[in-house]
Symmetry: C2
Subunit: 174 residues, 2 copies
């Protein structure tokens, strides 16, 4: 059996290129979310709508009919996977970003909710149809740490600061 | 604020159409995997290579350099998300399959490993380059239950039996 390469830490610190790549992945409008099942303590996974709030914090809009709604209420720690390989090439060579986060449900009504709602709708206009239903919630996914994988042997550790795309943006006018 | 539709169980039992849709998603060659971090007990998420074994059991090939390798060794319960929305339309209306599974690392050498290895390579020929490295493992992801979401209001519970695509297949000749 061939011997693998000598053991080394396969993950390096963030650099300018990895920050740019990560910020590009943060522009996606959907993601996979890993959560903990409150009944069994085992992992669950869901596709979620994804966007960034006014200050660049990752966000989602979820319905209480989904299994991850109750899960995030009970266990706020979660993880997000961004990036989609598409139909061509080895899927493991396409870049993806894994984020460890803490879910924070936004109370409504509140000033913060109104600002987040306007910002979300600017990026996700179709959700106008259901964002105000009583069983939907806007949830901030507050970044704890992140790992960018740019393909075999190209992995980087990123902090919350590495993922901030820009200065706080103005609230969209509606 | 508009009122949501009356509360009801949003998930129905599997039917012929949902089984066909689920089996189509099982033909994908990559997936997202949710696992439990052995150090913190919180969720982690990774992209994995995905395939089916000889008996239709979901499988992956993973390196010990990935964070999910040690996680699955310590906590076999995990969850798999299959399906990729692509660039068009609302990502939440595209079908996806969520599977709750138990990871089982295949011992090698063993008869079972040889059969699984040949079957994996038939579906993932590029992994010939690294499947025999000492730090790679073939892992069965034994289905506990599954949830198919075919878009808003179209969710189905599926069993392991619902996901079996066919009778055991012959081992590919190499």
């Amino acid at each position: 059996m061939p011997d693998p390469a000598p053991k080394r830490d396969p993950v390096g610190p963030a650099d300018a290129e990895s920050r740019v790549l990560a910020r590009g992945l943060l522009a996606l409008t959907h993601a996979a979310l890993a959560w903990t099942d409150p009944e069994t303590g085992t992992p669950g996974i869901s596709r979620i709508a994804f966007g960034l709030g006014v200050t660049g914090v990752p966000m989602t809009l979820i319905s209480s009919l989904t299994p991850h709604f109750a899960a995030l209420k009970a266990h706020p720690p979660c993880a997000i996977l961004l990036g989609e390989p598409g139909p061509k090439g080895d899927p493991l060579t396409h870049p993806r970003l894994m984020i460890r986060a803490e879910a924070m449900f936004l109370e409504r009504p509140s000033d913060g909710y109104g600002i987040a709602r306007a910002h979300w709708l600017a990026g996700h206009p179709k959700s106008t149809l259901y964002i105000d239903f009583a069983d939907f919630a806007l949830v901030e996914l507050v970044v704890q740490s992140a790992l960018l994988n740019g393909g075999f042997g190209k992995a980087f550790r990123l902090t919350a600061a590495d993922l901030v795309t820009e200065a706080p943006r103005p609230v969209p006018q509606s």
